[in-house]
């Protein structure tokens, strides 16, 4: 623990400070978006969006190295791919409901395949593991600013349209009767989810990000009586998991993504178990 605090102040390990900052900033968006995702029951859509991000990263890396498009950053590719996946899945689930799960699976694997093919055609060795499971050594100060800026957009939209998004998540039919453009807000929600997923790719990686979207919100759901309480608690839990995960992984030299996710998973199981015990004892 002392090691971790010292390392946070050490200029030689600035990446650790950046990772913590990025994780804490992203937790704010996670709280807001994760609560919508869990109550609207679209965590599998969030997972598909997360995996499709690899396609965007692969394309961006390829264009950068082979075509010398130096402005084409992996995070830009990730954001474009995530938004594209969100809109494709959203439109299909709105207009062709019965095939929703098929399309989700398709977007999921096509995105990953595209990414791996681009990696294969890019000269030099690119390790997809750092994108899949995160690598805090790669986090720069610029990434932190990016997380802050994109997170601010997500939180502003997610809270600005709180009442409408709540109505759409709770009772879509009634919201439509009140003149709320239900399809638009559903797509907005998926796009906010897409951006939130991208925020965390550097810290915990594509595969693990879905745990941080869903688990803090799911735990918060056990305590919250209103959606905004769920958002606030989910944000707090996410901050605790990111901080304790980094603090635990740094001195033990373990990859931080899996440690963060395992802490979140253990906390979720514990809370679910306690809630079950309490119900059994007739509360």
């Amino acid at each position: 623990m002392v090691d971790f605090l010292q390392a946070l102040n050490d200029p030689a390990t600035a990446f650790l400070r950046y990772a913590l900052l990025a994780g804490l900033l992203a937790s704010v968006s996670l709280g807001v978006v994760g609560s919508y995702v869990v109550t609207r029951r679209i965590t599998y859509i969030a997972a598909a969006i997360a995996h499709s991000v690899l396609g965007g990263i692969g394309a961006a890396v390829y264009l950068n190295v082979v075509k010398h498009w130096h402005w084409c950053d992996p995070m830009l590719g990730a954001t474009a791919a995530a938004l594209l996946a969100a809109v494709v899945i959203g439109l299909v689930s709105l207009y062709a409901r019965e095939r929703e799960d098929t399309v989700i699976s398709a977007v999921w694997v096509i995105g990953m395949s595209v990414g791996l093919l681009f990696f294969a055609k890019t000269p030099g060795y690119i390790n997809p593991m750092s994108y899949l499971f995160g690598n805090i050594l790669l986090i720069s100060a610029r990434d932190v600013w990016l997380v802050a800026a994109m997170g601010a957009v997500v939180v502003a939209l997610g809270l600005g349209f709180y009442n409408k998004l709540l109505a759409v998540c709770f009772d879509e039919e009634f919201a439509a009767l009140r003149g709320v453009r239900v399809k638009f807000y559903y797509l907005l929600l998926l796009c906010l989810t897409a951006i939130t997923v991208v925020l965390l790719v550097r810290v915990v990686g594509i595969v693990l990000v879905i745990a941080l979207v869903t688990l803090p919100a799911a735990i918060a759901g056990h305590f919250a009586r209103q959606l905004w309480q769920m958002m606030f608690l989910a944000m707090l839990f996410s901050m605790i998991f990111v901080t304790s995960g980094l603090a635990l992984s740094y001195p033990t030299n373990l990859p931080s993504g899996p440690v963060i996710v395992l802490i979140a998973g253990a906390a979720y199981l514990l809370v679910a178990l306690l809630a079950r015990l309490r119900r059994r004892h007739g509360a």
């Binding site: 609560s35 109550t39 029951r41 600005g160 349209f161 709180y162 009442n163 409408k164 709540l166 109505a167 998540c169 709770f170 009772d171 039919e173 009634f174 919201a175 439509a176 009767l177 009140r178 003149g179 709320v180 759901g221 919250a224 009586r225 209103q226 959606l227 309480q229 769920m230």
Partner: protein, 249 residues
């Protein structure tokens, strides 16, 4: 308020896939009129309500709500659905739900969907009307079936409607609350049209002027002429009728 019908249907047909649900449906409901839709399960009552609100589009015929296509005028209707597909763990308070009736107003507030003081007053007022004023802060999932139903009625009232559409408002409600609801509906009926879906003809007979029998086709009966025969025709079997007026003696 003009005498233009609030609801009018002409030659309306609807089917889910190949199976026809409604055929050649035509009737109208005037302002400040109260009608009840009755009929067997699967006869098309809820489908008819959804057609009136523009949630479904008829295969043939025309539906008019306040003289317009339902989609452009349905904000003037307050609707209580029979079922809300609802997750008991959804973190939402009674007040949150009733306030949803205030969405869809014009101007800047309509754009963001933020509620003001007037909206909160309207929501509290609606809760008071259904006798649930002190439940505002309670989580919706912690309520009983009857209480949830009253909250959804309050949400419909909170829309400030010119037409109230209630789908099975009494299915979970006990007799005492039912009597109060009936009184409330009678009072509201002086200001707005009311369409009820109900199995409970005893409940509605004091309120509505006409009963609209829905069983794929639609037959309209004035309440005074509702006899054992017409009910038997509708349900297709013998139905015992309780004559409330005789019990009162």
């Amino acid at each position: 308020m003009s005498d233009e019908p609030v609801i009018s249907l002409c030659g309306v047909a609807f089917s889910y896939g190949a199976a026809p649900v409604l055929e050649d449906v035509g009737f109208s409901v005037g302002p400040r009129e109260a009608v009840c839709l009755v009929g067997p399960n699967g006869g098309g009552k809820t489908t008819l309500v959804k057609l009136i609100l523009g949630l479904l589009t008829p295969r043939r015929g025309e539906v008019r709500l306040f003289g317009q296509p339902p989609r452009s005028s349905r904000r003037r209707a307050g609707y209580m659905p029979q079922h809300v597909q609802y997750d008991p763990r959804f973190p939402v308070s009674v007040m949150d739900i009733v306030l949803m009736g205030r969405l869809g107003q014009g101007g800047l507030r309509g754009l963001t969907g933020w509620y003001g003081r007037a909206d909160r007053h309207a929501a509290l007022d609606a809760l008071e009307q259904v006798g649930m004023k002190e439940f505002g802060r309670r989580p919706f999932g912690s309520l009983s079936g009857g209480e949830r139903q009253r909250v959804l009625i309050a949400r419909a009232l909170c829309c400030g409607p010119d037409l109230l559409l209630l789908d099975e408002p009494t299915s979970n409600i006990d007799t005492m609350v039912e009597a109060r609801l009936l009184e409330l509906l009678g009072e509201l009926n002086t200001r707005m049209a009311i369409v009820l879906v109900s199995h409970d003809l005893g409940f509605v007979s004091g309120l509505v002027e006409r009963v609209i029998c829905v069983n794929r086709r639609v037959v309209v009966h004035p309440t005074s002429k509702l006899t054992g025969d017409s009910i038997r025709d509708l349900y297709g079997s013998e139905v015992r009728m309780v004559r409330h007026d005789e019990l009162d003696m």
